[in-house]
């Protein structure tokens, strides 16, 4: 089946791949923000994940170790943020921005020796006969493992936030840290762990870029993906499945517009180029249009530092 010279099955398969880095980074940031911390350093943590993952994969020859390295790299950078904001009470916005700048610079320094090197290839997950199902096989069963991990991560975060005690405590800390503290929860410790998780997920997203999507190391490889992830968390009003939807919309339209151009569709390129941003924002804003609920969606303590002395 072809539509306007484009095979929809191949397109959907590409969009799932294109959205992975954004999903991973955004779902991590969602947890961080649900805990009441605004970490604007996603871009920096992603790119640290990209270079650390790349370096680890090249050193060990194993893509799996690459992803572990990427997660560790992202988490390591987020430790700096956590120490500054949780223990030294630094301003979260300024610290997050500084983290991005620091991450971009540090990754470039670490990456000096890795330009032009090819990482070990990541094999597609072999799902046997499932991959051969027409259409559905192309869309769902011919991906690398990280595509499935990204969807699973959304499901797990959603389930944990919604159905578990851990999720409830995390949300409590994000809504009202004084109350959570009064109930005996360790606000700082919980936030620290949430920030680490966010860093690790952003690192995974970055590693996906450098190991699978682009497969190479180039300075500034994330080129703004972290900022898109941040925006999607807000426009998705802090709901995990909407993050997935937003990322697929963004990734999907970004891929679609390139395909339309390649297929020679007669739509002005300017409109095609702006469409991913425009449509993603429009759809998510309309979904969150109910004002009373939208206001309730943002964690009440978002961006506020907590100190136990009060």
């Amino acid at each position: 089946m072809m539509l306007g010279g484009i095979n929809p099955a191949v397109l959907i398969a590409s969009l799932m791949v294109a959205a992975v880095p954004i999903i991973l980074a955004a779902i991590g940031e969602l947890v961080v923000e649900k805990a009441g911390v605004l970490n604007l350093g996603v871009e920096g943590m992603m790119i640290m994940g990209a270079i650390c993952g790349f370096a680890a994969a090249v050193a060990t020859g194993s893509p799996l170790m690459g992803f572990v390295g990427g997660a560790l790299g992202g988490a390591a950078l987020s430790v700096i943020f956590a120490l500054l904001t949780q223990f030294l009470m630094a301003n979260q916005v300024a610290t997050g921005l500084a983290l991005t700048l620091f991450g971009l610079g540090l990754s470039s320094l670490i990456g000096q020796g890795y330009v032009g090197i090819k990482p070990p290839p990541t094999a597609r997950l072999d799902l046997g006969p499932l991959s051969d199902i027409p259409v559905l096989g192309t869309i769902l069963f011919r991906h690398d493992v990280m595509v499935y991990v990204s969807v699973a991560a959304v499901a797990v975060v959603w389930a944990v936030l919604r159905y578990t005690r851990t999720g409830l405590v995390l949300r409590a800390v994000g809504e009202n840290h004084d109350a959570a503290h009064a109930l005996g929860y360790h606000v700082i410790r919980i936030r620290f762990l949430a920030i680490l998780f966010g860093g690790a997920m952003a690192g995974l997203g970055g590693a996906y870029l450098s190991l699978i999507r682009v497969p190479q190391w180039t300075d500034g490889i994330t080129a703004g993906a972290g900022w898109i992830a941040l925006a999607i968390v807000v426009f998705a009003s802090w709901k995990p499945w909407r993050v997935l939807l937003g990322a697929y919309l963004f990734g999907g339209i970004a891929v679609l517009q390139l395909n339309l151009q390649a297929a020679g569709a007669r739509i002005p390129v300017e409109y095609l180029s702006m469409s991913p941003y425009l449509i993603t924002i429009l759809v998510l804003v309309i979904m969150s249009a109910d004002k009373s609920r939208a206001a309730a969606a943002a964690p009440a303590a978002l961006g506020k530092n907590f100190h136990a002395s009060r």
Binding site: Q112, K118, L209, G220, A262
Partner: protein
């Protein structure tokens, strides 16, 4: 940090950089503004190679400074002003989008020389422009592409619809068509110079459309990395040799060689003979080099491509030689007529046979 401390620290920072400039006044300070990171492996990498060649050539007589990843537009003006205030004597701005910013800042600093790459505006006596005839290289790539394609579909990843890119699209199409009349060309505009993920996606979209020869006019090596995933798809190094992707998908490359120009111009400034000029050299002048054609290309195609490059270099052949029509079918160049530089520098039309519109 509140706003006042922020301002205060900014002022201190500025003060420090000014004192730094005062100490270094006996040296000529050469500044570079880059559109991407120097590790992009392509465009900016090559400009930086030129900067390093300058340092090697003049040693202690000069000092170089550079700023990476400067966005085109208003930000460029701020960075340029800062660099001029910081004591730079000559500043090379290395992307088309810095054109207006370069001229605007040049008006404010008449004693600082500005050199703008790939642009055409020289509004002040202290502004010079320089460019390379990349389209000559594109003609060679087009020839190889036209011979090598099996699907008869060639893809071109454009950055922005500016004359330099359109020259490249036209030159590669004309020469692919010349050796393979069945060739069609799909152009995808990425609207970025540097975004590896997007460049990879663009290459992927082209490959999904059946394209098996990819020409990229963006700065990173990502399109080659994407081409490497699909057997049978070839591409070319762009701006830099990108030899790590040889022998395939990278079968050849267009290498920008800025070092001779930078050395010449800074030398002129040291001698006091610098003046505003418009330099535009190609294969013949050594500014554009054709990277080694690998064994993935049949010997006769390689010989044909090398012969074409040689004829361009010695001036016996011009890549835009008539008869050529514009896309709408109107006559552009008559039989044997060659394009003049002014038309090329402002090229805003496709030649006949390319489908699609150039974004305005």
């Amino acid at each position: 940090m509140n706003r006042r401390t922020l301002l205060a620290s900014a002022a201190i920072g500025l003060g420090l950089s000014m004192t730094g400039a005062a100490f270094a006044q006996d040296k000529l300070k050469v500044g570079f503004i880059y559109v991407g990171p120097i590790g992009d492996g392509g465009w900016t990498f090559q400009h930086n190679e030129g900067r390093l060649a300058l340092e090697a050539e003049y040693g202690d007589r000069i000092e170089t400074v550079y700023q990476e990843s400067v966005p085109e537009g208003a930000d460029a003006e701020r960075v340029l002003t800062q660099m001029a205030l910081g004591g730079a004597d000559i500043i090379f701005t290395t992307s088309f989008g810095y054109m207006d910013a370069t001229n605007a800042v040049a008006a404010k600093f008449p004693n600082v020389k500005f050199e703008h790459a790939t642009g055409f505006k020289r509004e002040h006596p202290n502004v010079a422009t320089y460019n390379a005839r990349f389209y000559e290289g594109r003609a060679v790539m087009g020839t190889i592409g036209g011979r090598m394609t099996k699907s008869n579909k060639i893809g071109y990843i454009g950055s922005f619809p500016i004359p330099e890119v359109i020259q490249g699209i036209n030159a590669s199409y004309i020469h692919a068509k010349k050796v393979n009349p069945d060739v069609t060309m799909s152009v995808v505009w990425a609207y970025t110079w540097f975004d590896p993920a997007k460049e990879a996606d663009a290459a992927k979209a082209l490959i999904e459309q059946g394209v098996d020869v990819i020409l990229a006019h963006t700065d990173s090596t990502a399109p080659l990395a994407e081409a490497a995933k699909t057997p049978g798809v070839i591409g070319f190094g762009q701006a830099s040799d990108m030899i790590s992707y040889a022998p395939s998908p990278r079968v050849s490359s267009i290498i920008d060689n800025w070092a001779p120009y930078y050395i010449e111009r800074v030398g002129m400034l040291l001698d006091g003979t610098w003046e505003s000029t418009d330099a535009w050299e190609g294969i013949g002048g050594g500014e554009v080099k054709i990277g080694e054609i690998t064994d993935a290309v049949p010997a006769e195609v390689k010989a044909e491509a090398e012969a074409l490059a040689a004829s361009i270099a010695d001036g016996s052949y011009h890549p835009f030689t008539g008869p050529l029509n514009k896309q709408d079918g109107s006559a552009w160049l008559a039989e044997g007529e060659t394009a003049d530089d002014a038309t090329l520098a402002g090229m805003n039309f496709y030649v006949e046979g390319i489908t699609g519109d150039i974004p305005k």
